[in-house]
């Protein structure tokens, strides 16, 4: 995948901007708040179909405007010409996607254009943040290979909200006694939809775990191994405590008893697992007025030599883990999409020590030739120029992207 041309209209701080990046490495320099991160976000959105930042997509529209548009000419392989792609976000009508001038509808809407991976300073949250940041990581990886997944998550979220309302009203005495026949249809839907969410997450995890481990081995100096373990909230313990319960001497190896990490379970297996968990926790759920079972409470535990990195990792180790997760995403997307994803490196090098800089550069280079790369920084000091020659320099200022001369 290669981006030839980009045109933004009313996208975040850009009123109207056009840009033709170079096919190799592009360095975007600009002061704080100039719009560098916004530009990478636009690229990610038009290529993958989803924004890399969780949060409300209506925020993409420039303040005071009704709709925004990101339009790109992309080249998917050397044999075909440039394809015209456009994502429009309208405050009234929501999102629409056009390819080659035609609006995508129905099944066509789920066709993936290509891959892009965003490395950002905020990635440290993948390690240090709450369980939801790690769930978001898996969800984003799944959504980029299967856009339909976003719709599935939305349906799951709606069914969950309905069910929680029933449980909460009953627990607080706001409604008359809750009949189980009223709860059952929602439980049934959470089992079906939640089982699908679980399956897709585990499928993504099976493609991410090995490359993450390999990247970490290269980035860290200790020779310790990084393990990704998916822990469903199904059991008796809460996800937080389940994370803590992983004792350093006792590293978890499988996702769930009987489920090998490289072999995602069948729909029947995830559904059966959830059905049993709901049966076990029913009394708790009724007492607490809350849905306690399902993928919205699951945890992805990142452990180094068996100890959860969130709790025990040093700053440097945590940073290496975060980088490893993004590098793994690149490998996963390349494999799943049969495409060289765009690499979007948002101000990542300035925070790394020399060793990790070298390690990341080496890994990016090995990740394969042909990746079009986009790097941002406030000045060249934060960008490892040596690793990306030849590269094209651009300056971002006042809502424009313009070529910058030399150093």
């Amino acid at each position: 995948m290669r981006l030839q041309h980009l045109a933004l209209v009313d996208f975040r701080n850009y009123a109207a901007a056009e840009w033709s990046p170079s096919p190799g490495a592009n360095v975007l320099l600009g002061s704080n708040g100039a719009g560098k991160t916004n530009l990478l976000e636009a690229i990610h959105l038009v290529v993958t179909g989803v924004s890399p930042r969780a949060g409300r997509e209506r925020d993409l529209v420039r303040w005071g405007r009704e709709a925004c548009s990101v339009r790109a000419q992309v080249v998917r392989d050397e044999f075909s010409g440039a394809l015209d792609c456009q994502v429009v976000w309208d405050r009234q009508q929501g999102k629409s996607v056009r390819r080659g001038g035609k609006a995508l509808t129905g099944a066509g809407r789920t066709a993936v254009l290509g891959g892009a991976v965003l490395f950002s300073p905020g990635d440290l949250d993948l390690v240090k943040g709450p369980p939801s940041s790690r769930r978001d990581y898996l969800d984003l990886a799944a959504a980029k290979t299967l856009p339909r997944y976003r719709g599935l998550l939305r349906r799951y979220g709606t069914a969950l909200a309905h069910r929680n309302r029933l449980l909460a009203d009953a627990a607080s005495g706001r409604s008359r006694h809750l009949s189980l026949s009223e709860l059952q249809p929602w439980t049934q839907q959470l089992i079906t939809l939640g089982g699908e969410v679980l399956r897709h997450r585990l499928w993504a995890l099976s493609g991410l775990a090995a490359p993450a481990r390999a990247a970490y081995a290269r980035l860290s100096d200790s020779g310790e191994a990084l393990t990704l373990t998916y822990v469903p909230a199904a059991g008796q313990a809460e996800p937080e405590t389940a994370g803590m319960a992983v004792h350093p001497a006792n590293p978890p190896t499988t996702v769930l008893p009987g489920w090998a990490a490289d072999h995602p379970p069948s729909p029947a297996a995830t559904a059966a697992h959830l059905a049993q968990a709901f049966a076990e926790r029913q009394a708790d759920e009724l007492a607490r007025g809350l849905t306690l079972v399902g993928p919205h409470r699951d945890e992805l535990i990142l452990s180094i030599a068996g100890a959860p990195a969130r709790v025990f990792g040093s700053q440097g180790e945590q940073r290496s883990v975060a980088l490893s997760l993004r590098l793994a995403e690149n490998v996963f997307l390349r494999q799943a999409l049969q495409d060289t994803p765009l690499l979007l490196l948002d101000d990542v090098f300035s925070e790394l020590d020399a060793r990790r800089r070298m390690g990341l550069l080496g890994l990016l280079r090995e990740a394969g030739e042909g990746h079009q790369t986009f790097l941002t920084g406030t000045d060249l000091a934060g960008v490892p120029v040596e690793g990306f020659a030849p590269m094209a320099l651009f300056r971002v200022a006042e809502g424009r992207i313009a070529p910058a001369d030399g150093h």
Partner: protein, 198 residues
């Protein structure tokens, strides 16, 4: 800019309609002011007429200007099947397929706890009453393919199966998350053929 009282009131009233914002309301209002008075009177009269004369069919709940709607009153319809839909518009969509010859039941909603809608708030009790007669063999649940429609279908399946009727659900192939009303006739026809036990 302030409008004369009657214009402001008209705009205000029009914004009460779904999908009509202040801008559209303004456009409609000024359009009406440019129309012949008789034309405007016709529009106003049909609105009031429709509201006054249209009621729910005593049997199926579809909208009609009689006590019993034409479908329920048609001796040629298959009486062993009831197709359950959320809204009157869905009956019209089904009828356009010309494939279904059974009866209907309009729930006027779907189960949605977030909106305070439980089984008692939609016409489920009336459906159960219709089944007591014993002539109905199959209930086809054609609620929307969103989570609320699915929950309603699952609830009905649990409730009705013990009564000895088969409960089927239209096969997917309908645009997911989309409304039945907008499904084209061919898709809807296919969905009927492929209906399954819930």
């Amino acid at each position: 800019m302030t409008y004369a009282r009657p214009i402001a009131r008209l705009i205000d009233q029009l914004t009460r309609l779904p999908g009509v914002g202040p801008k559209t309301a303004q456009r409609l209002a000024f359009h009406m002011l440019g129309m012949e008075q008789s034309e405007v009177e016709q529009i106003a009269k049909s609105m009031v007429d429709a509201r006054v004369s249209v009621r729910r069919c005593d049997v199926c709940g579809d909208l009609t200007d009689q006590r019993i709607c034409p479908v329920c009153g048609d001796p040629g319809r298959e009486r062993s099947m009831i197709c359950v839909v959320e809204r009157p518009q869905d009956v019209a969509a089904m009828e356009r397929t010309r494939q279904y010859r059974g009866l209907y039941h309009v729930l006027h909603g779907a189960i949605a706890p977030l909106d305070g809608i439980g089984p008692e708030q939609i016409r489920i009790r009336e459906l159960v009453a219709r089944l007591q007669e014993g002539t109905v063999r199959e209930v086809i649940v054609a609620t929307n393919p969103d989570v609320e429609g699915d929950a309603t279908a699952l609830f009905l399946a649990d409730l009705l199966r013990p009564l000895g009727v088969a409960v089927t659900r239209l096969a997917r192939g309908l645009p997911v998350g989309g409304d039945l009303e907008y499904a084209d006739e061919v898709t809807l026809g296919k969905a009927f053929e492929g209906r399954r036990e819930v």
